[in-house]
Amino acid sequence: MKLRFNRSQLCIPYALFLILFVIAPLIVIIYYAFTNGQGQFTFENFINFFSSTNTIGTLIYSLFLAAVTTVVCLIIAYPTAYILARSGFKKQHVLLMLFILPMWINFTLRITALKEVLALIEGNIARYTFLNSVIGMVYDFLPFMILPLYTCFLKLDKNLMEAASDLGANRFMVFLRVTLPLSVPGIISGITMVLLPSMTNYVVLDMLYNSTYIMGSLIGSYFSAYDWNNGSMISLVLLVIIFIITLVTNRFTDKEENSGRAVL
C-alpha cells in the first residue's frame, strides 16, 4: 500500500523538535525546581528563594535596573522613531537602517567598545556601576525599542491628527489625545523587547565590573556551582514573570507583530 502524502505531515519533524527541546526542558525545570539533589519532592528551593534577603534583593535590583533601562530606552527611542517615521526625510529607509544596524554586531564586542569609552571618560569605571550598567543595557537594547515604535508610527493615519487639529486641538493636545494613545501597541512591544533581556543579561554587568547580581546572574552562579535544583527554581520564577508580562502585553498588541526581534 502506498502511503498517502498529506501536506500537514511536513509539520511532524518540527512538532517533535518543539516537544523534545522546548517543552520537555521546561517540564524538567519544573521537576528539578521542586526536588532536591536526591530527587525527593521538596519545597526547599522555593523557600530558599523567597526567604533569603539576598535573592529577593536580587529580584528587586533586577526589576529596578530593567525598569530604569526600559524608561531611558523609551525616552530616547520615542522621539527618534517619531522623527524617523514622520518627518518625511528622503532616504528614510536608509536612515532607519543606520539606527538598527548595531543590532547585528555581536553585543559582547559592542560592550567592549563602550567599556573603553566609559573608562576614558570616567577614569575608574568601577565607581559608577549602576549608571554604567544602565548605559550598557540601553546601548545594547536601544535598536529593539526603536524598531517597533517606528513600525507603529509608520502606520499612523495622518488624517486623524489633522482632524484633531481642525477640530481645535492644539499641538500638545493632538499628541496627548491622538498620537500617544495610537502608539501604545508600539510602546508595549518595545517594552517587551527590552524589559526581559535587561533583567537577565548579566554579561553586560559582568563586563562593566558591576558585581551586583541580577536574576540571570543567579542562574549563572548556580550553574557554576552544579546546583541544578536551585537554578531551576530561579528559572521557574523567571518563567512566571515572563508569562505574566506576555499575558499583559498580548492584550495590547496584534499577534502578528510579536516578532519584533525577527525583522531583517
Binding site: N106, T192, S235, I242, S259, L264
Partner: protein
C-alpha cells in the same frame, strides 16, 4: 527651525551609538594598547594577529561553522514546520504556533539552562559531542525561521498549487516545484536571521558548549576578565571587521530588496 532640531537629535543619537565602535576601529589600526592613550604608529598588526593566533582563528571559524550549521538545520526544520502547520487543522496549527512562541519570548538564560539540565544532566549527553550546543542554537533560531515564513504562506495563491495538481503533478511534486519556490525570500531571510541570532548568542552557548570550545561571545567575555594585551587589541580588529561586514551585508540586502520592490511595482502596474 523645527527640522533642524530633529536633525540635531538624530545625529546626536547616532553619534552615541557609533562613537564607541568607531573609536575602537581607529585604535585597531594603531600600535596603541589602551584607548585614549597615544596612538603610536599606523599598524596592521592587530589584523595580522587575529588570523595568525591559532586560538583566535579557531574561535572565529568555530563560531561561523556553528552559526551556519545550526542555521541550516533551523531553516529546514522551521520551513517544514511552517508549511506543515499552514495546511494543518486549526487546533494543531495553534498548538505549533504557541509552542513556537515559547523560545521567542523566553529569556535566553532560561532556554540555555533548561536545555543543559535536560540533555546534559538528566540524559547524560556529553557536552563534548557538540550535540547540546547545536540543539541549543537550533532551538534559539528555528522559531524565527518559522515566523519569517508564516506571512509568505499567507500571501500564497492556492490556485497555483491546484493548477499543478490538475495538470498531473503529484502533491509532493507540486509542493516542491510550485509552493516552495514562492517561499524562497522568506526562507532566505529566515536563514540570515538564524545566522545572526547564533552569532550574537552568549547564554545558550555558555550552558551547552564543550569546555574547550569558544564562540566569539564567550571568548570576548573571558578575554575581558584576563588581560592579555595582544588578544585585547586583536579583538578590536575583530570588532571593526564585523562592523564592516555588517555594513556591507545590510547595504547589499537593502539594494536587493529595493530592486525586488521596483520589479513588483512594475508588475503591479502592468496587471
Amino acid at each position: 527651525m523645527k527640522k533642524t532640531v530633529c536633525i540635531i537629535w538624530l545625529v546626536l543619537i547616532l553619534a552615541l551609538m557609533y562613537v564607541p565602535i568607531l573609536i575602537l576601529a581607529v585604535y585597531s589600526f594603531t600600535e596603541a594598547t589602551t584607548v585614549g592613550g597615544s596612538l603610536g604608529g599606523f599598524s596592521f598588526e592587530n589584523y595580522f594577529n587575529l588570523f595568525a593566533n591559532e586560538e583566535l582563528r579557531g574561535m572565529i571559524f568555530g563560531t561561523l561553522a556553528l552559526a551556519l550549521g545550526s542555521a541550516l538545520i533551523a531553516t529546514i526544520l522551521g520551513t517544514l514546520g511552517a508549511v506543515g502547520a499552514h495546511y494543518s487543522k486549526k487546533i494543531r496549527k495553534t498548538l505549533v504556533d504557541s509552542a513556537n512562541q515559547i523560545p521567542v519570548v523566553n529569556a535566553d538564560v532560561v532556554t540555555g539552562f533548561s536545555i543543559c539540565v535536560l540533555l546534559i544532566i538528566m540524559l547524560g549527553v556529553s557536552k563534548d559531542s557538540f550535540v547540546p550546543l547545536v540543539i541549543g542554537h537550533t532551538v534559539l533560531s528555528a522559531p524565527f525561521v518559522y515566523l519569517s515564513i508564516k506571512p509568505k504562506l499567507k500571501q500564497l495563491d492556492n490556485s497555483l498549487y491546484e493548477a499543478a495538481l490538475d495538470l498531473g503533478a503529484s502533491p509532493a511534486k507540486a509542493l516542491f516545484k510550485v509552493v516552495l519556490p514562492q517561499l524562497i525570500p522568506g526562507i532566505l531571510s529566515g536563514f540570515m536571521l538564524a545566522v545572526t541570532l547564533s552569532l550574537d548568542d552568549y547564554f545558550i552557548t555558555t550552558y551547552t558548549k564543550p569546555s574547550t570550545f569558544d564562540t566569539i561571545s564567550t571568548y570576548v567575555v573571558n578575554a575581558t576578565k584576563g588581560s592579555q594585551t595582544s588578544v585585547k587589541t586583536a579583538l578590536w580588529a575583530l570588532s571593526t571587521l564585523i562592523f564592516v561586514i555588517v555594513v556591507i551585508v545590510v547595504a547589499c540586502m537593502n539594494l536587493m530588496s529595493r530592486k525586488n520592490n521596483a520589479k513588483e511595482a512594475k508588475a503591479d502596474e502592468r496587471a
